[in-house]
Every structure is written in C-alpha cells, then in structure tokens.
C-alpha cells in the first residue's frame, strides 16, 4: 500500500513540481523499498531528459522569413486563379488524350476498309422457302442468317 502511494505521487505531477514534504516522503521510502527506489530513479531521469529536451532552442534559418512569404504568395496566386482554370489544369492531359482517341476512332471508322459480316455471305445461299420447309436439314443456320435470308427474299419480291 505504501509502495503504491509513492508511485502515485510520482505519477500525479511532474517531479520538479513536487513539494518538499512529498520529496522527503519519496526519498525516505525509496531507501527502504527497492522497487520504489527504481521507480524514483526512472522518474528522476525522465524529468531530466524532458527538461533538457525543451531547453535546446532551435534558431530559424536566415531565409525562413523569405520562405514563408514565398509560400504565402504561392498560396494566394493559387487561390486567385478561377476554379474552371484550376480544373482545366488538373484534367488537361486526360481530356486531351480522350479527344485524340475519339478523333482517331472517327478517322478509322471512315477510312478503314469494311469487312463484310459472315451472315451476309452465307445468307444468299439459302432461300426463304428452303429455310422454312427444310427444318430437318443438317446444315444449321444461325438466327441472324435465318432473318437476313427471309428479309432478303421479301425485298426481292417487293422489287419485282
């Protein structure tokens, strides 16, 4: 219980802020109690390194003021640019590449030679009657082939 009490004193406030009576209690107890002696030593060294830690001043470099002012001007110049301009700057590369790709695809769709689909070639080999009547044929046609054959025949009839 007494041991716990000493540690509580050490933890409740900084060591340099302890009263003389608290310090006397700690030192007298620490002489008799090994674990409290260790705790006191650790607290004492911790207090020393903390006080040294904040006592070492860091002088700013002579260019610090210039750097801060430059950063401030840069920040202001960014804020003064309109929002659409900032958006354009950030997405310029993406938009340009998308426009180029679209243009390239457009050019290719006009000038590349057309490749006839497989259905167009084979459809003419069948007549509508043959398709409808010859259901048992081993020669299977695709759905597109059937449709194109029927509509081709109808168109031929209309022309006639």
């Amino acid at each position: 219980m007494k041991n716990k009490h000493i540690i509580e004193i050490l933890e409740n406030s900084p060591l340099p802020a302890l009263s003389d009576s608290d310090l006397a209690t700690i030192t007298s107890h620490a002489k008799e109690c090994e674990s409290c002696e260790r705790a006191y030593q650790a607290a004492r060294l911790s207090a020393i390194i903390l006080s040294e830690r904040v006592s070492v001043p860091v002088e700013p470099s002579p260019f610090f003021q210039t750097r801060v002012l430059a950063a401030w001007r840069e920040k202001q110049s960014i804020e003064n640019v309109p929002a659409w301009s900032r958006l354009w700057k950030s997405t310029r590369a993406l938009v340009s590449s998308m426009a180029l790709t679209t243009a390239a695809l457009g050019v290719l769709s006009f000038f590349a030679p057309g490749v006839p689909s497989a259905g167009e070639d084979t459809a003419s080999a069948y007549s509508a009657e043959a398709v409808l009547m010859d259901q048992q044929s081993d020669d299977q046609m695709s759905y597109e082939q059937v449709l194109s054959t029927i509509y081709n025949d109808e168109n031929d009839d209309d022309v006639r």
């Binding site: 050490l10 933890e11 903390l50 070492v56 860091v58 700013p60 401030w72």
Partner: protein, 168 residues
C-alpha cells in the same frame, strides 16, 4: 512553440511556416474574443500535434536501440542522487534520449507531457492551447508520465541485468 515538439530545424521551420499560413488564411475566423496570442498558440499546437501524429510511432524501446552516448549517459546519471549540471554534449544526448522515449508515446500524450513536465505549463494552459478539457489533459499527462517512467525503468533494469551478466 514548434520548438517544443521538434528538434530538427527543418521540422520546426515546416511547422512554423504551416502555422503562419494557417493564421493568414484563417484571420477572418478570429473573433477577437480571446487574446491573439492564445489564438495563435492554439493553431500552432494543433498544427504540431497533427505533424507529431503523422510521424511513425515506435511501440517499444530496448537498450539495443540506444546509441553508445545514450547508454553512457544513462550509466553516468543513473547512480547519482542529485541533479548535476549537464555539459552541452550531455544536454544533446539527453534530448536525443528524450526524443526516443517520447516516440513510444501517442501524439496527444507527448504534447501533454512536453508542455506540463517539460515547460511547467499548467493544466489550464494546456487545455486552452489544445482545446481539450482539463480532465483530458490530466489523464494524458498522467498516462504519459507513467509510460515514460516504466520505459525508463525497463531500460535501467535491462542495463543492470547486462552488467550483472558480464560480472558473472
């Protein structure tokens, strides 16, 4: 203010620059109710706290992690009972050691400990600077003090163990 939290000049200047820029941009939000100094201190504390948070935390510290100078400093100072004045070199080594030990603590605990134990700030002053409640400041400082003492005790214990091992 930034000097409390960081020792490397680059970090101190980075923090100070950030504080100035924030203060310039948020000047409209200053209502003039409190002191300008208090307002600036709060911005500075929160900026530094965020920077400390972003630094990598080391959960544990062992004797093997210490430099020769730090080991020597501990050996020299552990046996003494009074607070002998430190040489300039010893002050630097002690500060390095403090940085290592503080690195094992959460950012909020570091802030509370540095301000209260390092700079003798009152709980109320820390509460005003951070925007925390006074009870939170007390809890943070208490926990930090305990963790720091325990880590230091562990270091001293393992050093003593090594010495005994060598003697045996």
């Amino acid at each position: 203010m930034a000097n409390r939290f960081f020792r490397q000049r680059a970090l101190v200047e980075e923090a100070a620059q950030e504080v100035f820029l924030k203060a310039f941009t948020q000047l409209d939000s200053y209502e003039g109710r409190g002191s300008m100094e208090g307002w600036l201190t709060r911005i500075a504390t929160n900026t530094c706290l965020n920077m400390v948070r972003s630094a990598k935390r080391r959960p544990e510290l062992a004797v093997a992690d210490l430099t020769d100078d730090e080991n020597h400093w501990l050996d020299t100072n552990a046996g003494h009972t009074g607070d002998e004045p430190q040489s300039v070199e010893d002050k630097v080594v002690a500060s390095d050691l403090a940085d290592r030990l503080l690195g094992t603590l959460p950012a909020e605990d570091q802030v509370a400990l540095l301000m209260i134990d390092g700079e003798n700030a009152s709980v109320k002053e820390v509460a005003e600077a951070t925007g925390w409640s006074e009870s939170k400041v007390k809890v943070r400082a208490f926990r930090a003090r305990r963790k720091l003492r325990e880590t230091m005790e562990k270091l001293l214990g393992s050093k003593a163990g090594r010495r005994e091992g060598k003697l045996a």
